[in-house]
Structure formats: structure tokens, C-alpha cells
Symmetry: C2
Subunit: 391 residues, 2 copies
């Protein structure tokens, strides 16, 4: 029933954080080395015949804007076919989807999908100023990320009685999970009280409702399902994926209690994979803010619309809950190096499905994991990938 | 022998130029409308299930940096799966290659590949300053495009006796062809004397050796070869393609008389298509500077290394020559709106293969056309696509 034409045979990332001491190319090399080293039976890097690089806006933050040109040389693959994919916050997850289709097309055999993002080398002010200069000349003034998501929290509270404690419970859970993930940017427990006492950023979102700005890189190696066993006895397959767009500006929205792109993208991914939300053992979803994870788990069909807050508070999404969400620590604790984020989430799904996630391992019963990002102006694009360990 | 799994069933562009009166989204809408209108038997736009947007560096020039998010809404396709591909100057040609593989993967049926670039809304100084802030902190200082290509002209002259008149003959030919192309930015004849009297930009390259900065957009509609006849009785097929990278910085080059990425990319494309340079009826190649076209026709195998200058001077690449090159006017006269360039070149190949190119129509004998871009830091990436009208 599933697509299962393409397999993940290697995946890895570098420790997320403020990596001032590493260049864009050094981060890429670290992630590539980790992915290559994870291939059970080994993989000669000269066999890689195509690379997809995910970087959201290198040139904005003063770094390399044409990663498709500079990454291959930096990782010892000069000459290889290489393309950069950009799709706002889902850049990494969309690069993975494109990489899977490149393999499925029969043109390339072994494809490296690598995400790299430098977020900390320029000040936030410079980053925001540069961003404000881009896009629509009027509508996107002042459109920082907290400003884009806060109205969803306000309306969700109004319509469904979602509380600040429910939002905080998402942050507490993900920071707890981050403590168990050696790759997470933040690795310390926080409490609901600490979240509620943290400085207000854009009401009702407080500092600990927000993900950090993080440098990072992650990489995945794909090949056809037929060839997977040359490289590992535990391949993970691409079961399905979906991408959807939405009108990009806030004034075009008709609802502030959900993100339609996520609903549409996940519907496409579920259909392609031949599964539904009940078939999933775990998910890595886009928690750029606590409210976003609540919207996500509703829009992805894990809980009914409006029930995301109570479900989070009651532990349904905890490591031992009904549907563990963001065992890696999520964007809130693991970090959100944009181009790398989706690929790092997929690496977590790969570890979980192979039952190699150590202390944060969740129970794998049905063999399916979901990865999700949403982003862009007005959350106008969402990507969902579904992986499976079932052949 | 050819790949021929994917067909072009529609293609179109907008008049290139300084389009201050059109937004990024308006340019995209114009190109989409042209491509849709070109489908012989019509195509309901709701059948398009994926879009690939090529924009090189929107945010650099103060325009939309996340085209995968804003283009679908602007062209009436909100909701559709959409991805932005960036690969320096070959962004458009690589987006086409990715689009072809998306169709070949069996995941998407009808794919729109659309290239859009705003080059003129910001001053050159602002553009260059912004560019100088990106990439390697030392090596790329002062690396404007003429600075990157001038050493190749100097060395080509030294090694092979290439003359300024030979360079000028490329500009004269392409401006002549541009006069016959209603979509070209420049539509006036120039003479060798005018080229040689134009201001020096970076010795030995003069103003008329350089392509202009141009706003533009172009779009192509792809589907599977099996479905092509639903839309047209004159489909054009994707015979093959190739991409190659090279070390990105000038100090890493081992030769200044050719661009290895082009040789490697075209070798891959020829192999995939099962053809060679002698099978081509025409080509659209990357003439960002006159010397670049001379390098291209050597690196693509149209003439021996070192013979590109005399071949250009003697008319081998003219509309009625042995191998017509850049019948559209090329980047020198038609213009170089980066993300749109490759797709506009492919549109020209499509018109030529369908024998719909009017006064600039070349003789189609063997049914193959080649499209080429090279670019990025140190010309570190090249893309070649080969189209055919032979089923």
C-alpha cells in the first residue's frame, strides 16, 4: 500500500548550538561525516551521484547564498550534481522529498540530502532588518515570527479555552526530551512556572514559548529500496510525503485556529503512504512556538481541533504517551537551524524506527513515523514526510 | 536510446527588460499565463499538481526570497505543492531538470516550472554590496562577474590567439538575433567597431562584451510522455540532462581556458540522451560575456578547444551556420534574469524544435536542441538540458 521505493540508509547531524567557531562549510562537512559513518555496511562516498542542499537564506545572514555550488567542494565531492532547495522553514523536509523523487525517477542512484544553516553569525537586528527589506513592501512590515504566531494563540485560547499552562506544558515536555538528546541546543529541564515567568515576547507568547536561533547541519543518504540492503540490514523506507501552500499574508487568512497548509500536506502524505494518524508510533513536528505544536497535532489529525492544549497538558504527546511528539526536543530545545531542521527531525525518526534513540526511545509498534514543518510568510507552506521500517 | 519519459507541452515568457512597473508576482503571473496559453489543446490549470519556482536571490535584491511560498497564490494555484530551486545562474535550467525528475518519479503528473527574477529594482551598488557580504570572507572580495570572467579571456587570447574582434563577433551575432526576438531586452544591431569602442569594464571585456541586468520571467509545463498527446500533437521530449560542480574559488582553478563543470555536465547529458554535439540542430548557451560563449562552444564539444574564437568570427554559430548558437539573442541581447534565464532558453529550444521561431527559425534536421548555463562562484556549477522532438 505504501510507496516504499526509496530508502534511508544513513543519517546524522552535528551538535546544535551557537557554532561561531565553525564555518557554513565546516558544519556541512560534520553532518556529512556523521551520515556517512552511520551506514551500517559502509558507503564509498564516490558512489554518491547527486546532492540536494537545503539552506533557507544563507546570503541574508551573511553566509553562503549558493550552497549548491560550495558544499560539494567542501565535503570532497567536487564535480557531483548538486542543487539547492529552499522552502522557508520546511526547506530541509522539502529537500528530502525532492531527493526521494530524484531517486525514484531512476536518474540518480545514491543521493545525499544535506541541510545547513548559519543563524548566529549576524545579530538578530541585522537579520530582521534584512528580512524586513524582502517581500511585500507593505504587508510584511513588522512581521517577525512571534508576531505571525501570537494571533493564533490568542484565538485558540478564545475559541477553545486553551490556557498559558497548556502552552507551557509543550515547552516543558520538549525541554525534558532535549535533556535526553545529545544533539540538542538546550539540555536542561524547565518548569511550567519558569515558562509563565519568562519575559513576554509578543502576547501571549513568552520567551520560553519560543524556539531559539540555532546553528546546525544534518544529512541523510537515500537510495532505491532495491539497493538498500547493500548498505544496511535495517533500512527505513519513504512511505509518503506531501507539500501544500496557502495564501502567504495574514490578511488573507480565514481562520486563526489552524494552518490549512498542514492539513492539506498531511492529507496528501497519508494518502500516498496508505496510513492515517493512528498508524504512527511517533512524530517530529514544527514547534517553533508552543502554540505551533498545539496547532500541528490538531492539523495533523493526532487530536480533534481544539483538543491540542488539554492533550499536551495531560501527557498524550510525552515519550510514553499515546503519540510521542518531538522526542528529540523539537525546535524548542533541539533548535531550529532552518535548512537543517527537517533533516534533523528525519534523522530522529530514523533513529526511533531503528530503536537506536537511547534514553528517549519510544515504543515502536506499527513502524511508522511522521515528520512535519510549516513556515514561510503567513505559514504559507507545509511539508510532511512519513517514514516506515516495514518493507 | 534517449530517456524521453517526460514531455514539454507548454512554454512561454514575458518581454524581458527593465520592468519597474511589474512586481515579482506580476512577472510570474505573466509567464504562467503565456505558458498556459501555449498549450495546443488547452490545459486546465487545476490539473497542475506541483510547481518548481526558480529564483536565484530574491531577498538580495530586495524582493521575495521565498518564492515557493508566494508564487502559487499569485498565479491562482494556492494549495499546490511548490518548491523553490536555486543553483546560481543555472537556477532555471536546474529547476527544469528537477521538474523532469518529479514527473519521472511518478509522484506528480503535471508540473509547472517557473523562473522569475527582479534585477533592476535595486541599484547595482546595493546589489554588489549585498553580494560582497555573502560567502567566503576573503576570497570573494571584489569578485564581480566581469572580474571572474576577464582572466579567462586574457588567457584564451594568450594560448590560442583569440582576438577582441572574435569576442566582438559573438556580441554582434547575438544582438542581431535579438532583433528577431520580440521577447529580447535589446533589439538593435551593433557592429564590431561599436563593441571595440565601448567602455572598458574589466580588461579585456568591454561594455558590449557584457550581458545586461534584466527583469524577466518564463514558464514551462511538463507531463509524462504518455500523457503528452492529451495536450498537444507536437510534444517536445526531455532527452537528457546533466549537472556538475567545480571548486568554487578562482585560486583553486587549474586552467583558465575552459570551465570543467560544463564539460562534465554536458558529458552526462549527452550520455543520458544517447547523442553527441553533432546531433544538435541548435543550442542556447550561457553568454553572460562574449568570452563565455566561446568557452561554452568549446566545452560543449561544438568546436575543438581553442577554436571557439575563429568559429564565431566565421559564422559557424550564426542562424544559418553549422550549429546555430543563441538564436534568441542569448543573455547578451535577450537578457539574463537569473532564475528565468534557463527556462527562457528552453522555451526558445521548444519553439525552434516545433519550427515556430519565426524570422529566427533555424533548420531542424536531426531534432535535438541543447540548453546550457554555467555560473556560481568561480563558475562552479553547470547545467545542460537536451530536448528532442523525436518520440
Amino acid at each position: 500500500m505504501s510507496w516504499n521505493k526509496v530508502a534511508v540508509v544513513g543519517a546524522g547531524l552535528i551538535k546544535m548550538g551557537e557554532l561561531f567557531e565553525q564555518s557554513y562549510e565546516q558544519m556541512a562537512a560534520g553532518a556529512f561525516s556523521a551520515a556517512l559513518g552511520s551506514v551500517d555496511k559502509g558507503l564509498d562516498k564516490s558512489a554518491i551521484d547527486a546532492v540536494i542542499v537545503a539552506t533557507q537564506r544563507g546570503s541574508l545572514w551573511g553566509q553562503e547564498g549558493i550552497g549548491g555550488n560550495t558544499v560539494p567542494s567542501a565535503i570532497g565531492l567536487s564535480g557531483v550534481a548538486c542543487t539547492r532547495v529552499e522552502n522557508a522553514c520546511p526547506s530541509g523536509s522539502d529537500a528530502f522529498r525532492i531527493g526521494a523523487m530524484v531517486v525514484a525517477s531512476g536518474v540518480h542512484d545514491i543521493v545525499l540530502v544535506i541541510g545547513v544553516e548559519k543563524m548566529r553569525d549576524k545579530s538578530t537586528q541585522e537579520g530582521l532588518l534584512a528580512r524586513a527589506a524582502a517581500g511585500h513592501p507593505l504587508y510584511n512590515r513588522g512581521e517577525t515570527a512571534p508576531v505571525l504566531f501570537a494571533p493564533f494563540a490568542t484565538r485558540h485560547m478564545h475559541d477553545f479555552g486553551t490556557t498559558p499552562e497548556m502552552l507551557a506544558s509543550v515547552a516543558v515536555k520538549n525541554h525534558h526530551n532535549g535533556c535526553l538528546d545529545p544533539y540538542a541546543h538546550f539540555q536542561s529541564e524547565i518548569t511550567v512556572e519558569q515558562v509563565l515567568a519568562s519575559p513576554m515576547v509578543c502576547s501571549p507568547l513568552r520567551l520560553l514559548d519560543c524556539c531559539p536561533q540555532t546553528d546546525g547541519a544534518a544529512a541523510i543518504l537515500l537510495t532505491s529500496a532495491e539497493r538498500a540492503h547493500e548498505f544496511t540490514d535495517k533500512p527505513v523506507y519513504v512511505a509518503g510525503f506531501g507539500v501544500a501552500t496557502d495564501h502567504p499574508y495574514l490578511h488573507e487568512k480565514t481562520s486563526f485556529v489552524g494552518l490549512p497548509a498542514t492539513t492539506l500536506a498531511s492529507g496528501r502524505a497519508y494518502e500516498m503512504a496508505g496510513v492515517g494518524p493512528r498508524d504512527l508510533d511517533m512524530a517530529e513536528v514544527h514547534d517553533c512556538f508552543t502554540i505551533t505544536e498545539i496547532l500541528d497535532i490538531e492539523d495533523l489529525g493526532f487530536v480533534e481541533k481544539g483538543k491540542g492544549g488539554p492533550a499536551s497538558l495531560e501527557g498524550e504527546t510525552a515519550l510514553d504517551g499515546r503519540i510521542p511528539v518531538n522526542p528529540s526536543g523539537g525546535l524548542l530545545a533541539k533548535g531550529h537551524p532552518i535548512g537543517a531542521t527537517g533533516i534533523a527531525q528525519l534523522t530522529e525518526c530514523w533513529w526511533q524506527l531503528r530503536e537506536e534513540a537511547g534514553e528517549r526511545q519510544v515504543a515502536i509498534r506499527q513502524g511508522f513515523a511522521l515528520q512535519h514543518n510549516v513556515g514561510g510568510r503567513g505559514s504559507g507552506v507545509s511539508v510532511v514526510n512519513i517514514l516506515t521500517r516495514n518493507p
